[in-house]
Symmetry: C2
Subunit: 174 residues, 2 copies
């Protein structure tokens, strides 16, 4: 047999195979599904969490293809720093929706890449000021256009009104 419906050798994103349908051929050793068609009416494909994950996967795939130098979160940090200048690591984390442990990792990697610089805050010795380096500033400037293209490509299937609505609806979830 071997329906062979799902090609795509490895990765998950980029391509979008549906559910195929040629599964559950040899179920023998594990007791067949107790509810053949739907399971208590719960359809994974209609769950917001699952759909969000799939959409995010696609977006990440497009991003890393267009801007391989940095990740989405790293770029978000660069964008915020460009928007509002140097600030404490903690503020930066909140402004980019990352908790303390996460923003630290991202900042450390950006420092290693030479895109960001840190300095102790003399007035508040708890704080670590984070700011763009010259390289970070120029990389951001050189890539903002691509970043916008990525956003557009991600929602390429939608018309302008739909794109606006999607953004509006998603914003209202938070």
């Amino acid at each position: 047999m071997q329906t062979l419906c799902c090609r795509s050798p490895r990765s998950v994103n980029v391509v979008a195979w549906g559910l195929c349908g040629g599964y559950a051929k040899r179920v023998k050793q594990h007791a067949a599904p107790q509810t053949p068609p739907e399971t208590a009416g719960y359809r994974l494909d209609d769950q917001i969490g699952y759909v969000l994950r799939r959409a995010t996967q696609r977006h990440l795939a497009i991003f890393s293809e267009v801007i391989p130098e940095v990740t989405t979160t790293q770029f978000a940090v660069l964008a915020r720093l460009a928007e509002m200048g140097a600030q404490s690591q903690n503020h930066l984390g909140r402004a980019t929706a990352m908790d303390g442990a996460t923003i630290k990792g991202v900042v450390d990697r950006l420092v290693r890449l030479g895109l960001v610089e840190t300095a102790p805050d003399t007035r508040d010795r708890r704080r670590l000021t984070v700011g763009l380096s010259a390289a970070g500033r120029s990389l951001f400037a050189a890539r903002v256009g691509d970043a916008q293209d990525i956003s557009d490509r991600t929602v390429a299937a939608l018309n302008p009104a739909e794109r606006a609505q999607l953004l509006e609806l998603l914003s209202r979830l938070t």
Copy 2:
């Protein structure tokens, strides 16, 4: 000074502070932002990737609060197995949008939790058949209702028509 606009001691999700606005007090050591208000018209908060990440964060927070026994991805695997019965790890990965390395990790953890069982496929010795255990079946049955509630809570801010539209728009991205 210390504007103190953003309370919330640690975590990022759950709460939803806006941009506050009391930042960039001491910029000295890092050269001020080159474009004060907007940076080349790129507003992070309007980027689909960023909004997707925030929405996902909120959903994950709700999920782990309501169903702490398993993660969203683990539950997705249980749901798929309940839907279509035991199948190869590879098929399962595709059916849940996870690549080979990821589905392996998830399955391993589910095995450790006793929610899933694996067995070699005698017809195709490359394959590893994965199926629900009795515990997995009953946990899923006991929690499907909660899972549905989680999805509803995630989109609580939207009316039914908007929820349907959000799901539809998101689906079209993949």
